[in-house]
Symmetry: C2
Subunit: 414 residues, 2 copies
């Protein structure tokens, strides 16, 4: 943890407890993505900045000199922004109830995780002033050595869901933790696939972790927790998900993951917004293509066209995208139909092309057909015979049956 982000001495237990408390309050006070709140907490620490806000709200005036001691000089624009923020926080300040939030967390088995805790995902620090103040977490720690976000459309197709489940199963088997947003469609398929693959998966929610959203995914979310995964939110239990919170939630999905993969997404969509968050954080972004006739893939194709995402088609390619450089490289492609003649050099192949299976041809005829000279043709015919690709018959040369397609088996002319 670097000092500017978490200006709390880890050995100062009183300080740590007050920081934890202050962050819980901040998580209830400021809307996700409130950069003024984020900047204040970064500059002064959660406790001092909260004390300053308390004073400003209660007294009705901002104590600039006190703030500038910690945050440095503030010009008129910055002061106006802070002033507007205080006015914005005031109505909610009146209804803050940390005890109620703590009780709600206890009821649903959630705990508070703050920067400096072992369970704090370090990737969140890359968000800077946009980092959440704290996370409310149900289940195992929302951290992972290797994690990948798989996100996509609620209005997914059978194709998209199948591809998602396949990706998540395989990634989970390889030890990757799958992160998503718990929504219907691709998100749910990603969590389900991770569970099927015996892996861990984290659900980053826009509302409180006490309320499964959407309700239809409640059993899935419970299963995630039972399997050692987590439900995570930056707003306290009891908070409702709103459109703004859904959009802000996407930055957390991107930040806690080493890469983000979009499976299906409409032209304009939350999944595409997650991809853009990941790109801004310099995290690799992948998009799974689909039929161009499917509106559900339009957002993926747009990400590919715009160069935001790399085309990924299977788990190995996703692992390569998300993995450390030089590690987790996608294996060489399945060879597909390999022809015995694939490894021939161009001259040998032309000579091979000059042979017939039924009509025997002498060396001169073969040379003329191949556009080769007689010496070259004779040499190549010898090699082809060695490879079992040509055969000498009384009247000349013919191609043998081994020129048919064969799989895998490869020999090289030497």
């Amino acid at each position: 943890m670097s000092a500017p982000h978490h200006p709390v001495d880890p050995d100062d237990h009183t300080g740590r407890e007050s920081d934890r408390h202050a962050r819980a309050v901040w998580s209830a006070l400021a809307e996700p993505g409130d950069t003024v709140a984020g900047a204040l907490v970064q500059a002064c620490g959660a406790t001092s900045s909260l004390a300053w806000v308390a004073d400003a709200v209660e007294s009705g005036r901002a104590d600039w000199s006190r703030l500038e001691e910690a945050a440095g000089e503030l010009d008129a624009t910055l002061r106006r922004r802070v002033d507007a923020a205080v006015t914005r926080w005031t109505p909610r300040w009146r209804s803050l109830d940390p005890d109620r939030d703590r009780a709600a967390a206890a009821r649903c088995g959630a705990r508070l995780v703050v920067p400096g805790d072992a369970a704090w995902p370090n990737g969140l620090d890359d968000l800077g002033a946009l980092a959440p103040f704290a996370l409310w977490v149900r289940g195992g720690p929302p951290t992972a050595t290797r994690s990948v976000a798989i996100v996509g459309a609620r209005a997914s197709t059978t194709y998209g869901e199948r591809v998602t489940v396949d990706l998540a199963v395989e990634l989970a088997r390889q030890g990757w933790v799958v992160v998503s947003g718990g929504a219907y469609g691709i998100d749910a398929a990603a969590h389900r696939g991770a569970l099927l693959g015996g892996g861990t998966t984290h659900v980053v929610l826009a509302g409180g972790v006490d309320r499964a959203y959407p309700v239809g995914n409640a059993p899935l979310l419970e299963e995630v927790v039972r399997a050692g995964g987590s439900l995570v939110s930056e707003v306290p239990p009891g908070s409702t998900p709103s459109r703004g919170r859904f959009l802000q939630r996407n930055r957390l999905i991107a930040a806690v993951s080493h890469a983000t993969v979009v499976v299906e997404a409409a032209w304009r969509s939350g999944a595409a917004s997650t991809a853009h968050h990941a790109a801004r954080l310099l995290r690799p972004v992948g998009a799974v293509p689909g039929p161009v006739t499917s509106a559900a893939s339009a957002g993926c194709h747009r990400l590919l066209r715009d160069g935001v995402a790399v085309c990924v088609t299977d788990a190995a390619e996703v692992a390569e995208l998300a993995g450390a450089v030089g590690r987790d490289l996608a294996p060489a492609p399945a060879p597909g139909a390999t022809r015995a003649t694939d490894d021939l050099d161009p001259l040998a192949r032309r000579v091979h092309d000059g042979l017939s299976r039924r009509t025997a041809r002498d060396v001169e005829q073969v040379a003329a057909r191949a556009g080769a000279n007689v010496v070259e043709a004779r040499a190549m015919l010898g090699l082809l015979e060695l490879e079992g690709l040509a055969r000498r018959v009384p009247a000349g040369w013919v191609v043998t049956d081994r020129h048919e397609e064969r799989r895998g088996e490869k020999k090289r002319l030497s």
Copy 2:
């Protein structure tokens, strides 16, 4: 026409006729893509280089001093390469019969097109020493102000063929000439689509233009000619298509087109080779994505992953790819589902999110929900009311029905 490529004085009619004749002979003598032949013709002109080869073949020895007069000094390696080429050309030299080729061309209504002719596609000159010596052409001139190659798998799917026909129809309607290779599958769909769209299409064949290959496409190829398009080959009528010629043919498709689009292609395929030819010629390359579960799209996805191709999903995007910079830009995307709230700034959207359709809320309640101050909330509610997105009721504010999705119609808060 720049001098190094076509060192023939356009006003020297005898010279032009002998150049034409020499190029016809070269097209029968050297295999497509023979760079030694190409370099000789580039350096000395078709007539002189052919005379030199005739002398070398007949006398059995290469006259280096005569060659070096035109081509500059040749080191040992180059001399060895030319020597090997002469030996290679010798068997075929004996069976050359320009009169027979001319007669075969006359029988099928083909004519010879050489550099400097109005019907010569200038793009071929970019191939340098790999440029064809001449083209044998049936039908209209194989030139186009705006042309795009659409190529792909023989083993195509219904999806791929449908997308290809749609692309070609639309491109043809917009005045684009579609170039392809006349093969089964995607190629045939491209030609068919161009004809359906009332356009012109060129078929670049690996064998002679007198023989429809594959035979099953013979009716289609005849229709291409009837519609003003052309069948084109760099080898004389009567020549058989061979594997080597198919691969070399691909460079011509890439060179005569302003861009190359691959619709479906196996991992390793001729269509992918055409794409690489186009990329080497610095022509734009597009690939149409498909389901990752379809092996027929694996080559397209590979081109996208490798950065060889740009993702294209419709005719407008292909036109943008192939068109001049700043012209033929793809239109702004179909707006899809546009929400009335799309244009709201974040604060207005948060306030909007804080409203309910059924429960009236007062300004303070809305401000608390939106994480806004009362002044901000009141201002935004006023704007939302103006937009018809919120409504004042006796007990406070509610959202109006206009927050439902609407298409196209857009207003901006001002």
